[in-house]
């Protein structure tokens, strides 16, 4: 590849050298006699070179200008024609002197094809526009008169001494371009408020005068009747809905055209090029190239504004030209703009996918290790399912943010202290003080967060919302207690807390309200943080509800299986809610729910396994007959067996979710993969801890821990390594405990010796791999 391009460059060099030094053109087939396959690419390069020299050497005398004196000028009744000032698709434009009013005007001569689209609605439009005082807006070029029955048909309008935006735009600074567009949007919006739409906005219809103030031409020429306008306009400034007669046309159609004008102004070319058919298809598809791709210096916020205005669906565009002007002003004032084109996410997604395929390929070629591939994949997935831009942006910290965070944090700490003082030490009386200390901050935090959220300080707003969500239950609990609301009978055994500290009902109402508030906020702010708090609150609420069904009794009796059974519906509820959130396009909501489901799944099954209840409940059988008689716990084997089954279940669940699960459930699968090895070796540790079976089990435990640790190499799972290390530590402890070896230094020396051997083995392995 490199040799080919080097060869190509050398040949181009020879061609150019001959051309520059001798003025000769070498014959390409001779240049490529030895490498005929290079002729085609070389020909392309030579064409490029020749067009370059042509444009650099073009003699200045040949500039394509109109002759000094225009040959023939048309004449119009009542006017003196001065000169031709331009021509466009619609027809030529002349500068005239109005002999009656003694003023300079412009006349646009309408070609035969132009007449068709203009129809006779122009006169009606003129009357309407005058009545609406639209023409008091100097940014909109006045149309004085339309003579459509004369030959040639002509439109007499105000004369503007300036140049088309399309011609002047490329040499303006980006801020100047943005400022021009603010004026244009503002003027268009003014017309919209009067019920008039342009329908044919394009750079050649916008003139700039010497002060760079825009003047919009041809207002009302394309359609006076607001219901019409399909198939009017100019490609590629036509909005998708103008191509489809069944779609309504409104002010947002002009917003689309403004977006295209801005797009072109930014990167110097129209978003869609090609023949008419192609351009129409491209407009319908609505996936333009990013302006930054074409012109790297384009400021991203301006690009975002252009693309937001160009959204295919009118509902996702700026809803008025004024909104667009406001966003442009935000950019000019140095604030963050609000436009978030859907194209960004779509583009990122379509570009990430090939990389994901590449990873599979790299894995197949052994270029990467499986664990590296997995990490790459999850990084790409995070990109793809990325939270909104402001969350990513807000990871850059500032002192403002730190101070605001600190404020919210201190409020939270103070409230917690206050709650403790109230509930544990009963130092709070009445409702007034809790209201002042907790409810007012709650309201204040929410108001501040609401305000900050709208001011683009979204990350801080979310932190405030979080703090407020925590304050709410604290306040409600104190309130209920002080007001003696929903108080429980202190002798009721179904209460979760004894002494009636907090009644079940109080807890239920409190957490339900906090849950609802938090859920609503999570949906509004679209953040994983509030969704996580929602998940936790939902758990507390569930606990409060199942307390009514004897949770405390079950715990006091050690009937963990009952606790587990009551919590089990929540596992399913979390998973279902997560799936529903993902289906409805709320990934930030589904992830915490899936994770909650996974964690609870593990906890419930482990509780279920305790005391051998799982086997009894599920199969009604027990391993007790095989258990040796001197073991005091009759269910020990059952428990251990159930725990082993759990470990396998976790592993199976993790694999299933990894393979079949949706994108958002993958973190849950990863979590289960981390937990599974712990769960697998846990029964052995449990057995060792009870110290009831054979004493040799602890050696087996140590051996298993070592094995898992070694398995971390072929499986490349870090969790295996940690599991092995932690359990090996446990095994060493229990071995010493059971044999009373703690008082013997020999045990310590033996362990240290083993460590030295492992170190030596490590060094030896290192040397041997280096030598290889």
């Amino acid at each position: 590849m490199t040799t080919t391009s080097a060869e190509l460059e050398a040949r181009l060099g020879r061609f150019v050298e001959h051309h520059v030094l001798r003025g000769e053109r070498l014959v390409l087939s001779e240049l490529c006699a030895d490498r005929p396959e290079l002729q085609e690419p070389l020909a392309a390069l030579v064409r490029q070179y020749l067009s370059l020299t042509a444009s650099l050497d073009s003699p200045l005398d040949l500039s394509p200008l109109a002759p000094l004196e225009a040959t023939t000028l048309p004449s119009f009744e009542g006017f003196q024609t001065i000169e031709r000032i331009g021509g466009g698709g619609m027809g030529d434009v002349f500068k005239l002197k109005d002999l009656t009013l003694n003023r300079i005007v412009a006349a646009k001569v309408i070609g035969r094809h132009g007449e068709r689209t203009w129809k006779s609605g122009v006169d009606a439009f003129l009357r309407e526009a005058r009545a609406l005082a639209l023409f008091s807006d100097r940014r909109i070029v006045q149309v004085h008169e339309a003579r459509l029955d004369t030959d040639p048909a002509v439109i007499i309008m105000e004369f503007v001494d300036g140049f088309e935006l399309g011609r002047l735009g490329p040499s303006l600074e980006y801020t100047q371009r943005a400022r021009v567009m603010v004026d244009v949007c503002d003027a268009v919006h003014h017309a919209h408020t009067l019920g008039l739409q342009h329908r044919d906005l394009k750079p050649s219809n916008i003139m700039l005068d010497a002060q760079l103030s825009p003047r919009i031409l041809d207002f009302g020429l394309s359609a006076g009747d607001p219901s019409r306008g399909h198939f009017a306009g100019t490609l590629p400034y036509v909005a998708p809905e103008q191509l489809d007669p069944s779609c309504p046309i409104d002010a947002r159609t002009d917003v689309y055209a403004l977006g295209v004008v801005l797009y072109e102004l930014l990167c110097g070319r129209a978003p869609y090029n090609g023949d008419e058919r192609t351009v129409i298809d491209l407009i319908r598809a609505g996936v333009p190239r990013l302006p930054i791709e074409i012109e790297p210096t384009v400021p991203e916020p301006l690009q975002a504004i252009a693309l937001t205005a160009m959204e295919r669906d009118p509902a996702t565009r700026y809803q008025s030209a004024l909104d667009m002007a406001a966003d442009l002003s935000r950019y000019l004032a140095g604030h963050a703009v609000q436009g978030r084109p859907s194209l960004y996410a779509a583009t990122l997604g379509s570009r990430v996918r090939p990389h994901l395929d590449d990873i599979t390929d790299w894995l197949r070629l052994r270029l990467v290790h499986p664990h590296e591939a997995e990490r790459l994949r999850s990084a790409y997935r995070a990109l793809d399912a990325r939270e909104e831009d402001w969350i990513v942006e807000s990871r850059t910290l500032s002192y403002t943010q730190i101070a605001l965070y600190l404020g919210a944090f201190l409020l939270l700490c103070g409230s917690l202290f206050y709650f403790v003082a109230a509930r544990w030490y009963e130092k709070v009386d009445g409702v007034l003080r809790p209201f002042g200390v907790l409810a007012l901050p709650f309201i204040g935090l929410n108001v501040a967060a609401h305000h900050l959220y709208r001011k683009d300080q979204k990350a801080v707003a979310v932190a405030f919302y979080l703090a407020a969500v925590v304050l709410l239950p604290l306040f409600l609990l104190i309130l209920f207690d002080e007001a003696h609301l929903l108080v429980a009978n202190p002798h009721d055994t179904r209460q979760l807390f004894d002494n009636a500290v907090v009644s079940n009902r109080q807890l239920q109402v409190t957490t339900l309200m906090a849950c609802a508030w938090c859920g609503w906020l999570a949906l509004r702010t679209r953040t994983a943080a509030l969704s996580t708090v929602f998940t936790v609150l939902a758990f507390v609420f569930t606990v409060a509800v199942i307390s009514d069904f004897g949770l405390r009794a079950a715990i006091e009796d050690g009937r963990w299986d009952r606790v587990a059974l009551r919590l089990f519906p929540l596992v399913a509820a979390y998973a279902l809610a997560g799936a529903a959130a993902e289906q409805t396009g709320r990934p930030w909501f589904s992830r915490p729910l899936y994770l909650g489901s996974a964690v609870l799944f593990v906890a419930v099954l482990e509780l279920f396994a305790l005391d051998g209840r799982m086997l009894q409940r599920l199969g009604g059988f027990s391993l007790a007959p095989w258990q040796s008689a001197h073991v005091s716990d009759p269910n020990l084997l059952d428990t251990v067996a159930a725990m082993t089954i759990n470990g396998a279940l976790f592993y199976a669940a993790a694999s299933a979710v990894l393979r079949r699960g949706t994108a958002q459930s993958q973190p849950a699968a990863q979590l289960l993969f981390v937990i599974a090895p712990f769960a697998l070796i846990h029964p052995l540790g449990y057995l060792v801890r009870t110290a009831e079976y054979s004493r040799r089990v602890d050696w087996l435990y140590a051996a298993c821990a070592m094995t898992i640790m070694l398995l971390s190499e072929p499986r490349q799972r870090r969790s295996f390594y940690y599991v092995g290390l932690l359990n090996l530590g446990g095994a060493l402890y229990f071995i010493a405990l059971h044999r009373h070896w703690f008082e013997r230094p020999a045990w310590a020396v033996a362990v240290i010796a083993a460590g030295l051997i492992a170190l030596a083995a490590g060094f030896a392995l290192d040397r041997s791999t280096r030598r290889r």
Binding site: L12, V16, L21, L52, L56, A210, Q211, I294
Partner: protein, 192 residues
């Protein structure tokens, strides 16, 4: 062709606005491209190239009587020299104090430009092709960029380029050939 230029120059010296306008219309595009490349990416974003173009044209207007040549080629060389002085002044000025406020208004109304010339000036545009060439020139190594500017924009004869660069004429020709090859390759790498 250059006879037309000489005629125009002659007319302009005699005070014909029309002729002067036509002359500037011919040179302004190339001159703007030259100024932009000379400024480089960094300065270009901070200085308004149109301001410099305008200042250069105003200055040339004042000194039109001093211009001795009689064809567009030497007219370009003369104009680019004025523009280079202008760039240097602006860059110095820019270093001393940022003139953000001044940048806001690109066309200064106080400048005594005849209306026709002013209109020629604002009509100058850089088309797509000129922008691509400018971008490619930015990416070239300085020696290559300089020789292209000297030859293709300032339109100096090789003898003078040789003097400026301290090289022989033939060496300059070779350098230009290499520079043009590099520019062609740069252009072919850029997306259309």
């Amino acid at each position: 062709m250059s006879t037309e230029t000489s005629t125009l120059l002659q007319q302009a010296r005699e005070g014909s606005q029309e002729a002067l306008n036509r002359l500037y219309e011919r040179c302004a595009g190339r001159l703007l491209a030259f100024i932009r490349v000379r400024l480089g990416k960094d300065l270009r974003s901070r200085l308004e190239s149109r301001d410099i173009l305008q200042a250069a044209l105003v200055k040339s207007l004042e000194h039109l009587g001093e211009f001795k040549g009689d064809e567009t080629r030497s007219l370009m060389a003369w104009l680019t020299r004025i523009a280079e002085h202008e760039i240097r002044d602006c860059a110095d000025f820019h270093h001393r104090q940022r003139r953000d406020a001044a940048r806001e208004v690109p066309v200064d109304d106080d400048v005594p430009l005849p209306a026709l010339t002013r209109s020629a000036l604002s009509r100058v545009i850089l088309d797509e092709e000129a922008r691509r060439i400018e971008e490619a020139l930015d990416a070239l190594e300085p020696a290559h960029r300089d020789v292209i500017l000297l030859r293709k924009f300032e339109e100096l004869p090789f003898a003078e380029i040789g003097q400026r660069l301290g090289k022989s004429e033939d060496a300059c020709r070779m350098l230009l050939a290499r520079a043009m090859t590099a520019l062609t390759l740069k252009l072919s790498e850029m997306p259309r």
